[in-house]
């Protein structure tokens, strides 16, 4: 009996996957993925992971896919775009190569237990009680880390998608091209260039223009170096 269910769910999952990849309209692709997720939940049930299956349906198919639907509705879904010729052929080829490799790896290796139906069933395996206990004792740290990750993602999404006034970033003020200090400039700064006559002292009407700033200004007569 379970074999029948298995094949039913497996084929449903694979066809859903193929639907995601091939359907042109993104809306249909989303629906196809939702179907695939439900089939996967059935597979989880067959593997006695009840809580995971429920979470899959509620969170994944329920929340994440709805989110997708909203975005597809907003964005509008692009028209069918033909992909570049090269990757159109090579893409599936690479995928095929990968699947063959993976199968060989998993089945060809001497992994014991692939031939079996699984370990003996412990009562309460996969139930929410067991999962909850594990989350709050042995896997407490990943649990908390995951919650922080969710927080970060939520904030990130809000920041990314918020509407700003206008299209460009106008948060920073315009930097002025040239900063003009309009303070009163002293006429004779006393720099060596002025003293040597290389650069004339800036024009300041308060200074007598007939006084030549000779090297070593005129009032220093006390004898220096």
């Amino acid at each position: 009996m379970s074999a029948v269910f298995f094949f039913f769910a497996a084929i449903g999952a694979i066809s859903g996957a193929i639907g995601v990849v091939t359907l042109r309209n993104p809306f249909y692709a989303v629906l196809s993925l939702a179907f695939h997720l439900v089939m996967l939940a059935a597979l989880f049930l067959l593997l006695r992971a009840e809580f995971v299956a429920a979470a899959q349906v509620v969170v994944y198919a329920g929340a994440v896919m709805v989110l997708y639907v909203f975005v597809v509705a907003y964005v509008g879904g692009g028209e069918s775009l033909p992909s570049g010729a090269v990757l159109r052929v090579l893409g599936p080829l690479f995928a095929l190569a990968l699947v063959i490799e993976l199968c060989i790896a998993m089945l060809g290796s001497g992994l014991s237990g692939v031939k079996h139906h699984g370990a003996p069933y412990v009562l309460g395996f996969g139930t929410p009680q067991h999962i909850g206990t594990l989350f709050l004792t042995k896997y407490l740290f990943p649990f908390e880390a995951a919650s922080i990750l969710l927080l970060v993602a939520a904030i990130g999404a809000v920041v990314l998608a918020r509407r700003r006034a206008g299209l460009e970033d106008t948060d920073e003020p315009e930097a002025p091209d040239e900063i003009q200090i309009r303070s009163a400039q002293p006429g004779y700064v006393g720099s060596m260039a002025e003293g040597a006559g290389v650069r004339p002292a800036p024009h300041d009407p308060s200074i007598d223009p007939h006084v030549e700033p000779v090297g070593g200004s005129a009032e220093v007569k006390r004898g220096g170096w």
Binding site: L90, F94, L98
Partner: protein, 669 residues
């Protein structure tokens, strides 16, 4: 306090003077910097006298005292200490140096009175005196080299004191560069010696030299020759002499101190100090003696035609140092050092007097424009005459006793040294000629305008200050000479200094009259006790004969000068017309500057051009740096092409990579 403590105090005084004046120049009122500097050196002189007295109080065998302040490195095969050696030779030198320096500082107080660089001047001058004292008090090669280098630096600072004059800065650079050549010789010579003796201390080196080296061993000869290079550079002997005439760009007191009395005598001191080495390698001593003799003659001939009054005196200095170098190279140590002392007196006096007459001429130094100052500058004239007579070697002045002492000794050595003695006598004939040429031209004859003004009590002032060598206009701000001009007749510090030196020039010879007292020789005996040559004294009779010959030559020279320049004016001009090529040869200073330019300066500049053009720009710039950056750029350009920006190619890359890695692991398991 012990003798060596006072010696350290001698060193400390000018050092303190430099530091206080240098760092505190802003708070020193008025002209106090000059008095402070003078006081510092005067104090050093007093301490030197104390050292002398205390040293004389010791028994003769205990008169070589060593004192170290701290150790630099006394372990790994070297014994470097901050060490001084107090023995008769160094005491003799510090007395001469500090004594003459005090008088020159006093002179400078009024000579540099209105110069805007007054405080800087005294700081530099004190620094120089400190370096010179360090040099002569050094107890090992390390301190000697340090003092040597300091003296070179001080000389550079003081020659280019009026730094806005291009001629002055060029002269300073020239002096410094040639001094560096000497420094190289000194350091290399030290290394040669150290390699064999394993010690840098003087006394130990001298003790070891006979055991470690054989007579005239090539290494020792090389070391002594290298030390001789150092001595020649510092003492301006041929061929490293070209810096001394140009060094007259410095203020006149600087010329008096550095380039007459002290720094240029450092070479003489060096050879005298290293006498055990030179005596053990007579080849080197002969080379230096010949060098001294040649310089003596060459410098005297050049002095005959010089027009700048300071350059005449400069070449005279070069010539007299040639005498001293010759003396200490052949073994006449006490004679050479005695001449050093008397020369310091009368040469400094001559320079000071020259400064006075230059002041009267408002900065002009050319003999062509001077004349008839006898009535206007009587005191200066008297000082010139006293200095000139001492320089010429007229009895009974000091120069006569010292110079002819040297010649007598050289003659007595015999053999090929007779040639040197003849050269020395020719030089002795030329000396009064050029000296009195200078005096007669400046003070006799038709009084020039400046002299006439001065006779009426008005000191001439130039409307536009000019560079005395090139004639270009300048001003009197910082970096140029100040607006004031000073003559000895009006400034009492100058008068006192010159008067003291004149008295010393006259009576200074009294301490070494042959046969009567040999105070200098006896005093220096502990230093030269290990010399084989110093004991060979000229018999009294022979030395008196030499003295009389010297006196006759001096009188002849003075009379000749009188006839040419006073009695029959125009003789000089007609001589010049009849021997134009000789005149030109002498005017161009035997073409030494051109020779050095061709042999040394041009190749070095060419090498510099090649290194900068090819080595720096092409090899390092383009090939090494450019090549490295080029390779990096090319590499990164190649890698950059993988960054296309297409997401799906990146994804494809990732998938392929995963497949390959998985394949690898599959296969290898």
């Amino acid at each position: 306090m012990s003798t060596t403590t006072f010696a350290w105090l001698v060193l400390l005084c000018p050092l303190l003077g430099t530091v206080v004046i240098g760092l505190g120049h802003r708070w020193l009122p008025g002209r106090s910097a000059g008095w402070l500097g003078t006081a510092a050196i005067a104090l050093a002189f007093i301490f030197s006298l104390v050292v002398l007295i205390k040293l004389l109080g010791q028994p003769e065998s205990h008169r070589q005292l060593v004192s170290a302040l701290w150790d630099y490195n006394v372990t790994s095969g070297v014994d470097a200490r901050m060490q001084i050696l107090v023995d008769p030779l160094s005491v003799f030198m510090i007395l001469v140096v500090s004594g003459v320096s005090t008088l020159i500082h006093l002179y400078s107080v009024s000579y540099m009175n209105e110069d805007l660089g007054y405080r800087r001047y005294f700081s530099y001058l004190n620094y120089f005196v400190f370096s010179m004292l360090l040099l002569v008090l050094a107890g090992n090669f390390i301190i000697l080299i340090i003092g040597w280098a300091f003296v070179g630096a001080a000389s550079y600072l003081l020659i280019s004191f009026w730094y806005r004059r291009t001629t002055a800065t060029r002269a300073g650079l020239k002096a410094f560069l040639i001094n560096v050549v000497g420094d190289v010789g000194l350091v290399l010579g030290t290394f040669f010696l150290f390699k064999h003796t394993g010690t840098v201390g003087f006394l130990r080196t001298f003790h070891e030299v006979r055991h470690v080296f054989t007579h005239n061993q090539p290494d020792l000869v090389a070391a002594c020759l290298l030390l001789g290079v150092g001595a020649f550079a510092k003492s301006a002997q041929v061929p490293l002499h070209t810096w001394l005439p140009d060094a007259m760009e410095g203020p006149t007191p600087v010329s008096a101190l550095i380039h007459a009395a002290t720094m240029v005598t450092a070479g003489v001191y060096l050879i005298a100090r290293m006498h055990p080495l030179f005596e053990h390698a007579p080849t080197a001593a002969d080379v230096t003696a010949i060098g001294g003799g040649l310089t003596l003659l060459i410098a005297a001939t050049i002095a005959l035609v010089q027009v700048d009054i300071k350059r005449v005196i400069a070449y005279s200095t070069m010539s007299q140092i040639g005498y001293m170098i010759m003396a200490v190279s052949v073994g006449a140590y006490s004679a050479g050092l005695f001449h050093l002392m008397t020369h310091a007196f009368f040469k400094a006096l001559l320079f000071m007097a020259a400064g006075s007459i230059i002041g009267a001429m408002a900065g002009v130094q050319s003999l062509d424009r001077m004349g008839g100052f006898r009535r206007a500058l009587p005191f200066t004239f008297a000082c010139f005459v006293v200095g000139g007579l001492a320089l010429s070697g007229l009895p009974p002045l000091s120069g006569w006793l010292s110079k002819d002492d040297i010649i007598g000794y050289v003659l007595h050595r015999g053999g090929l040294f007779v040639v040197l003695a003849v050269i020395a006598y020719i030089g002795a004939l030329l000396t009064p000629i050029y000296t009195f040429r200078m005096i007669f031209r400046a003070f006799f004859g038709e009084a020039v305008e400046e002299a006439r003004e001065l006779e009426h009590g008005h000191l001439h002032h130039a409307e536009v200050p000019r560079n005395p060598m090139t004639g270009e206009e300048e001003d009197t701000e910082v970096g140029f000479p100040g607006p004031g001009h000073f003559i000895a007749e009006r400034e009492w510090p100058m008068k006192i200094a010159m008067g003291a030196l004149a008295v010393l020039a006259v009576i200074g010879g009294v301490i070494q009259i042959p046969g009567v007292d040999d105070a200098v020789t006896n005093f220096l005996k502990p230093t030269f006790a290990d010399s084989r040559l110093a004991h060979v004294q000229t018999p009294t009779g022979a030395s008196w004969v030499g003295l009389i010959i010297g006196a006759v030559i001096a009188l002849f020279g003075i009379t000749l000068a009188y006839r040419v320049w006073v009695a029959m004016p125009g003789t000089a001009a007609s001589l010049e017309e009849r021997l134009p090529r000789l005149h030109r040869f002498l005017m161009n200073k035997w073409y030494f500057d051109e020779l050095i330019d061709f042999v040394v300066v041009r190749p070095v500049l060419w090498l510099g051009g090649v290194t900068s053009g090819i080595g720096e720009r092409v090899v390092i710039g383009d090939i090494v740096t450019g090549g490295a950056t080029g390779i990096v750029r090319a590499g990164s350009a190649a890698v950059r092409r993988a960054q296309t920006g297409f997401l799906r190619y990146y994804a494809a890359g990732m998938v392929v990579a995963i497949s390959v890695v998985a394949l690898y692991f599959l296969v290898s398991s």
